[in-house]
């Protein structure tokens, strides 16, 4: 059959498809500093983010390690992977500045109907940091 590779994955950009194919940082972190659990299985998207926080030389908190576990569609898995890439190694104050638009931009765009997945990733990160702050 003659195929057009551009149509593989239908509505997603090549970057989304690449990320979905080879997601980074999935799995659990044992003894995580904070865990963010968002989404709802009834709606079909559940995202858990684990962060390991450490202090740099200036005694500032930074995200030393981050992992995700996600039940969801291609967009949910891709945004999970992208947010781990975007915040890994960053100071918490910087990580909190990341927006859903940063995620969408990094993925080269998302279908409008899937924007909520990028919001979910941001929410998961905020929840994980909140969890860390509460445990501190």
């Amino acid at each position: 059959m003659k195929t057009n590779n551009k149509v593989c994955g239908g509505l997603y950009t090549p970057k989304v498809m690449e990320t979905f194919k080879n997601p980074h940082n999935y799995g659990k972190i044992k003894n995580a500093s904070g865990i963010g659990k968002v989404g709802n299985i009834v709606c079909g998207d559940v995202m858990w983010l684990y962060i390991k926080v450490a202090q740099n030389k200036k005694k500032e908190d930074f995200i030393k390690d981050i992992k995700f576990e996600t039940f969801g569609c291609v967009a949910a898995i891709s945004t999970s992977s992208i947010i781990t890439d975007l915040v890994k190694g960053k100071k918490i104050t910087e990580a909190l500045k990341i927006t859903k638009d940063d995620i969408v931009k990094t993925l080269g765009g998302l279908p409008k109907i899937k924007y909520h997945c990028s919001i979910l990733a941001i929410d998961a990160l905020k929840e994980a940091i909140k969890d860390y702050n509460e445990k501190k």
């Binding site: 059959m1 195929t3 593989c8 994955g9 997603y12 498809m17 979905f20 194919k21 997601p23 999935y26 799995g27 659990k37 299985i41 009834v42 709606c43 079909g44 998207d45 559940v46 995202m47 858990w48 995700f68 576990e69 996600t70 039940f71 969801g72 569609c73 291609v74 967009a75 949910a76 898995i77 109907i113």
Partner: protein, 391 residues
């Protein structure tokens, strides 16, 4: 990459024999069936011949078939055409339509439209396998009922409905019975006379014919209001220049199906059962639909804690084409109402996979699917937060 098409319930490739049969009707015998000259009359001859072939497949009379542009149009015409005509004939006394809760969207949406025009709609429940209980049909019929519409076989879960029993009940009660036979036409035997069917929808592109052509069987004596008005083609019931090339193809496709039906049904059932048996070995996998009363080519399974769109795209990356009832794959972001109607939880519906086999499916392809699928489900499960859940 190897390409494996396992989405025959969505659409089928046109059989080469069908293409060959249709071809002259695009270039040589292109006449308009309404023309009086030889070009038109020749087209009319082949139209009539095709109508006979298609009627034969369901034991109907040729004058009982109306060609339409799609199954959606046929179903719209059946519901709206009957409802509007009967309400007007009964001077408004009759205004009730009964459908099942697992009908195709074109039936559901037609019923919704009728509701907005003042009709009463009853949606019948189905059991855990997707079966309508004929007793429920009996109970739902009132003196206001015009039409009962229950599909012959489900496009999603493949369950074959007891249409003969429902037909009998409707005939005894004096209400029309319509069945959407899009998924069963050409695959399993249908007899409109034996089963007391008043209206039946079938589509060409689900059985190796071209797209853009379908039919509505309307039993002689059933009166309907046309949706399209114009030149009066198709006995005044569907004005539009008749698409002879597509109809000739549709008839050829039906002819092939008729000749190969019993052998093909056996072959596909065997492949289906082999696939089901092996897929159910995947942890947590569950069959949706009836284990026995099932289309020979339909497989529908749910995997817990795996989302369907991810599954479909992963399969696609391995060259395998299937479909899902997951919300994420739909425009509305709602899971399949058919899967919810058979009692699945939304999370189970999200993890559903429909595999539909067809004429060109080989055992080798099924083996490839059975090799790839467990790997993919494992991979997606590894990413899922629920992987340690013992449910």
């Amino acid at each position: 990459m190897k390409k494996v098409y396992l989405d025959y319930a969505a659409t089928t490739p046109v059989d080469k024999r069908v293409v060959k049969a249709s071809e002259p009707f695009y270039t040589e015998n292109f006449g308009n069936t309404m023309s009086l000259h030889s070009f038109g009359q020749e087209a009319k001859f082949y139209l009539d011949q095709s109508r006979q072939t298609l009627a034969d497949l369901i034991n109907a009379e040729p004058n009982e078939l109306v060609f339409t542009g799609s199954a959606t149009e046929s179903n719209n015409t059946a519901l709206k055409g009957c409802a509007l005509r009967e309400r007007s004939e009964s001077k408004g006394k009759k205004n009730h339509i009964i459908i099942s809760s697992i009908e195709h969207p074109c039936v559901v949406e037609s019923a919704k439209w009728l509701k907005r025009q003042g009709f009463e709609i009853t949606k019948l429940p189905v059991d855990e396998f997707g079966l309508v209980n004929p007793e429920d049909v009996k109970k739902a019929i009132t003196e206001k009922t015009i039409l009962v519409s229950v599909m012959h076989a489900s496009n999603e879960i493949g369950t074959i409905e007891p249409i003969a029993e429902i037909g009998k009940i409707c005939r005894q009660a004096g209400v029309y019975f319509h069945t959407d036979a899009v998924q069963s036409f050409g695959k399993i035997p249908i007899d409109v006379k034996r089963d007391n069917i008043d209206l039946l929808t079938a589509s060409s592109h689900k059985m190796y014919g071209p797209k853009g052509i379908a039919l509505l069987y309307i039993r002689d004596g059933v009166k309907i209001e046309p949706i399209l008005h114009g030149g009066g083609q198709e006995n005044g019931l569907r004005s539009s220049t008749v698409n002879v090339a597509a109809i000739v193809g549709f008839a050829k496709a039906a002819d092939i199906c008729k000749k190969e039906m019993s052998k093909e049904a056996k072959r596909l059932s065997k492949l289906r059962d082999k696939a089901i048996k092996n897929i159910l070995k995947i942890k947590g996998a569950k069959l949706n639909g009836h284990p026995k009363k099932r289309l020979p080519n339909n497989i529908n399974v749910s995997f817990p804690y795996i989302e369907g769109e991810s599954l479909i795209i992963q399969l696609d990356m391995h060259g395998i084409a299937c479909s899902t009832g997951s919300a994420c794959s739909s425009i509305k972001l709602e899971p399949s109402y058919v899967l919810l109607a058979i009692g699945l939880k939304p999370e189970e519906a999200h993890g559903s996979l429909r595999i539909s086999l067809g004429r060109f499916t080989t055992e080798k392809e099924i083996n490839y699917l059975l090799k790839v699928l467990p790997k993919i489900t494992k991979q997606l499960m590894a990413m899922s937060p629920f992987k340690n859940n013992e449910n």
